[in-house]
């Protein structure tokens, strides 16, 4: 049974509140360092692309934003599933906590893609499989958040929004494989593919550092918003008064 203790601990709000508070600064500072270095490496150090010249540098924000929007959605769907199946309130809280950051980066991904597409493809937008499925991801996020705020009752908001999050997760592999399944304007994978990434290391390393930075940022936001969710859900818990009176906020 020892293997299950971590699962039970994850279900305990005081434990999660403390752990999230302890890890948040590490995630936050790590994200800042990675993003500053990644931007410097990508915008200053990396050589221009032989075809796209300096326009390719948009990749240093576009691809990490796409990654963030997908990893947030997957996290949200898994958390919603756990919340629904095991009736774990904290999992619902985590799903709710991560939605806004995922939604905003789904938008950043679309907008920077548009800014990249204009000079390279000659169009701001195309109803292409990759672009359309990414737009659907943004709508799924917005639908999820709208559904949550439509319910006054927190439990019903948790449950109905969880169903939407879980159903919508089919869109995640569709986005990833869209460039292979359909004829797409969008280029194929550069980094996340089976053989070696098709980029020299001076270009690749800053990009990988940006991916790491965005991931750490996602974790920082998750910790911070989850703590807020816990404070609001644990209205009258005794541990809460001890926790916040002891100054361990």
């Amino acid at each position: 049974m020892a293997t299950w203790t971590w699962f039970h601990k994850l279900g305990s709000p005081p434990h999660v509140y403390r752990i999230a508070g302890r890890f948040a600064p590490w995630f936050g500072w790590g994200a800042l360092l990675c993003i500053v270095y990644g931007l410097f490496g990508g915008l200053v150090l990396a050589p221009p692309d032989y075809q796209q010249k300096d326009a390719f540098r948009i990749i240093y924000v576009h691809a990490p934003a796409a990654w963030l929007s997908l990893s947030c959605y997957t996290t949200m769907a898994v958390a919603a599933f756990v919340g629904l199946v095991w009736r774990m309130k904290i999992a619902h809280a985590a799903a709710a906590a991560i939605a806004p950051v995922g939604a905003s980066f789904a938008f950043v991904c679309l907008a920077t893609g548009s800014l990249w597409g204009r000079p390279m493809w000659g169009t701001w937008w195309e109803w292409d499989a990759r672009l359309t499925s990414q737009l659907i991801l943004l709508f799924l996020y917005l639908g999820y958040m709208a559904l949550r705020s439509a319910h006054d009752d927190l439990q019903r908001a948790d449950r109905s929004s969880a169903v939407l999050a879980i159903v919508g997760v089919v869109n995640v592999p569709i986005i990833h494989y869209s460039v292979y399944w359909w004829n797409s304007l969008h280029q194929g994978a550069t980094v996340m593919k089976a053989d070696r990434p098709s980029m020299p290391s001076e270009m690749l390393v800053p990009l990988l550092v940006m991916f790491l930075g965005f991931t750490l940022f996602q974790l920082w936001v998750l910790c911070t918003r989850l703590r807020a969710e816990i404070l609001e859900r644990e209205r009258n818990a005794r541990w809460l008064q001890e926790q916040i009176r002891d100054g361990a906020r």
Partner: protein
């Protein structure tokens, strides 16, 4: 770093400045806004919790 002859050349981004800089700016701006909103939300939740505890009489003691 030798590829940039001057700061102006770097800012020009080989003629793609109008596409590159708004992309970077939007991404950084979104990071900052997300950070501020998350912090504000936690601070507000904490204030509400403290107020509630004070009303319930936990605040003294």
């Amino acid at each position: 770093m030798n590829q940039w002859a001057s700061l102006g050349e770097w800012l020009a981004m080989g003629g793609y400045a109008a596409y590159v800089w708004p992309s970077i700016g939007l991404a950084i701006g979104t990071l900052v806004v997300n950070m501020m909103m998350a912090r504000r939300r936690h601070a507000a939740a904490l204030q509400r919790a403290l107020r509630r505890l004070a009303i319930d009489g936990y605040g003294e003691a």
